[in-house]
Amino acid sequence: MPETKVLTKYRGEKDSHTISHYKSKGGYEAAKKALTSMTSDQIVDEVKKSGLRGRGGAGFPTGMKWSFIDKKSTKPKYLVCNADEGEPGTFKDRILLEELPHQMVEGMIIAAKAIDAHHAFIYIRGEYTLSIDRVQQAVDEAYAAGLLGKNILGSGYDLEMALYQGAGAYICGEETALINSLEGRRGHPRLKPPFPAVAGLYGCPTVVNNVETFSAVTHIIQNGSDWYAKMGTPKSTGTRLFSVSGPVKNPGVFEITLGTPLMTLINELCGGMRDGKKLRGIIPGGSSVPILTAKECETANMDFESMADHKTMLGSGAVIVLAEDTDIVETTFRLAEFYAHESCGQCTPCREGTHWVAGLLHKIKDGHGTQKDLDLILSLSVNMEGGTTICPLADACVGAVRPTILKYRSEFESRLIKENKHVA
C-alpha cells in the first residue's frame, strides 16, 4: 500500500522549504481564495464540513474550535500555532516545519481570516533549531511577497506573524501552558474554563492549533471539504502523518488516510520488524496512550473510533514499536521518569504521583520491588486521573503506565522479590 501524500507531496524535493518552490506548485492560491472570495463564516463552515480534527493530540474538531470565537468581541483576537512537538515518539511536525513550512504559514493566514485575528504567533520548541530557521525564512519570504503584513494581496486584510522559541518544557505543548509561556511566564497550565476561545493570550480570544492542522487547512480550502472528507473514514476524515520509531526496518514519517490498519503501516510501509524480531506491542499515539499488545495490533485501525474501541487513542500520531527483546519494565520506567521530570508542579496528584510512580518502577526494575510496590502504583494511579488535576499530564502518566502493567503483568511480577526486609 502506498502513502497518500497530501501534506507531504513535495517532501524531499530540492528547496521544498522555499517560497519559489511552493509557489511553483500552486502555493498561496488557497490563501488568496480565502482572503478575496470567502467570508470568515464560509471558511469556518468549509473546515467544519471537512471533518478535520486537531492533529496535536486531543483530536478536537477544528472548525468547531474556531466557531467558539466571539467575533463581536471588541478585544483583539489571536491565532497561535503549536509547534512545541514534544510527546515522546513524535517527530512528524518537524518534517512539516523543516521541509514544508509555507503550507503551514498559508493555513495560518486562512485561519486568521476565519477568526478575524490580525496577530499570529508560532510557538516552536527550542531544540528544533533547523525548524526555527526554516520557519523564520518562510515568514520573512511571505512578508516580502506581500502575503503577510498590511493589506495582504490587496484584500484589505492585515496579519502580523512572529516566531516564539520555547525553552524545553514538554508541558508547554498543552495549549494554556503554551499561552502562559508566550506571555513570558512559567509554563503552568490554566484552569478551564475560561477556554482560550474566550480568554486566551493576553486575556483575549485565542485559537491554538497544531502545525499539521494548519497545513491540512490549506488543502481543504484549496480543494474543498468534499474532496477532503472522501479520504479516511466518515468520522476520521483525511490523511494523517504518523511517526514510527523502534525496531522496524524502515522507521520514519508516513502520511496515510485515517482508517488504515495499524499492521499495514508497520508491515508494508515500515517493512516489518528489523532483524526478524517478533512484535511485542505498539504504543499507537505517543507515549501517553495505552499500549496495544501484538494481538490487539492485528485488529486496530489508525482512526479515532477504532482506537477508542481498543481503549487507546491516536494522540499525536507517534507509533512506538516494541520488540520481543524490549525490556518493558525499563521502557515503562523511562516514560514514568519523563512525566515526573516534566510535571509543572502545580497540582499535588501530579507533582507527587508521577514521582512516586517513577520511584516505585525504578525499585521494581532494579529488582528491589515487592508486590506491595506494584499494588501501590495501581492504587495511587487512580488518584492521578479523571480530573484531579488542572491539565492531563498526570492522566498521561497513568495512560503510559497502568495499561502496560495490566497487560504485561507477569513481566513486572517476575522482577519482584518476596519481601523487602530492608527499610527503604
Binding site: P88, G126, L130, T326
Partner: protein, 161 residues
C-alpha cells in the same frame, strides 16, 4: 560573568525588533534569556537583573528568575564548549542510547551531567528531542546527530575542535 553585562550589538538589534512584535512586554523574558545565553553561554543572576531592567517595570528580577529556572534549556551554570545531550526516552532507549552515554562518560572520565576539567565537553541525559525514528541520537550544541553507532560517535567527537 562580568557584573556589567549588556547585550552584544547583535542581541541589542534583536531586542529592538522583539519589542515591536509582542503586545505585552512581559513576553520578552524568554527571548531575552536566549539572547543572554547566546552572548554568555549561560544565564547568571546578574544578567537576569539586566533583562528585568531593560524590559522595565512591572517586570522584576523575580519574574525573570522564575522563568529561567522553570525551563531546562537555559543553562544556569556554565557548560562545556561542546554540550552533548543524549536522548534517554523510550525510542532512543529501545535503540540503545545507554551504550552511547556510557561510552562517552568513559571516554571523558566523567559522570553524566558533568563537564570535563578542560571545560571542553559536558555530557547530559535529556528527554525526547523529536528524532525517535532516527534513534539513537544526540544533540551537540544546536546540531542533531542521528542513527548513531559507537564508531560514528567517536568520529564526530574527534572532529570537534
Amino acid at each position: 560573568m562580568l557584573m556589567s553585562y549588556k547585550f552584544s550589538d547583535k542581541s541589542e538589534k534583536r531586542f529592538q525588533l522583539l519589542q515591536t512584535q509582542f503586545p505585552d512586554k512581559r513576553s520578552l523574558i524568554l527571548p531575552c534569556l536566549y539572547l543572554v545565553q547566546t552572548d554568555e553561554g549561560m544565564v547568571s543572576t546578574e544578567s537576569m537583573e539586566y533583562i528585568a531592567n531593560r524590559i522595565g517595570s512591572p517586570i522584576e528580577l523575580a519574574h525573570v528568575y522564575g522563568v529561567a529556572t522553570f525551563y531546562t534549556m537555559y543553562n544556569k551554570k556554565q557548560v562545556g564548549k561542546f554540550h552533548i545531550q543524549i536522548c534517554e526516552n523510550i525510542s532512543c532507549y529501545i535503540m540503545g542510547n545507554d551504550n552511547i552515554t556510557n561510552h562517552l562518560c568513559k571516554k571523558f572520565g566523567i559522570k553524566k551531567g558533568e563537564t570535563t576539567p578542560d571545560k571542553k565537553f559536558t555530557v547530559t541525559g535529556v528527554q525526547c528531542l523529536g528524532a525517535c525514528g532516527y534513534a539513537p541520537m544526540m544533540q551537540i550544541n544546536e546540531k542533531y546527530y542521528e542513527n548513531l553507532s559507537l564508531e560514528e560517535v567517536d568520529k564526530i567527537i574527534n572532529s570537534l575542535e
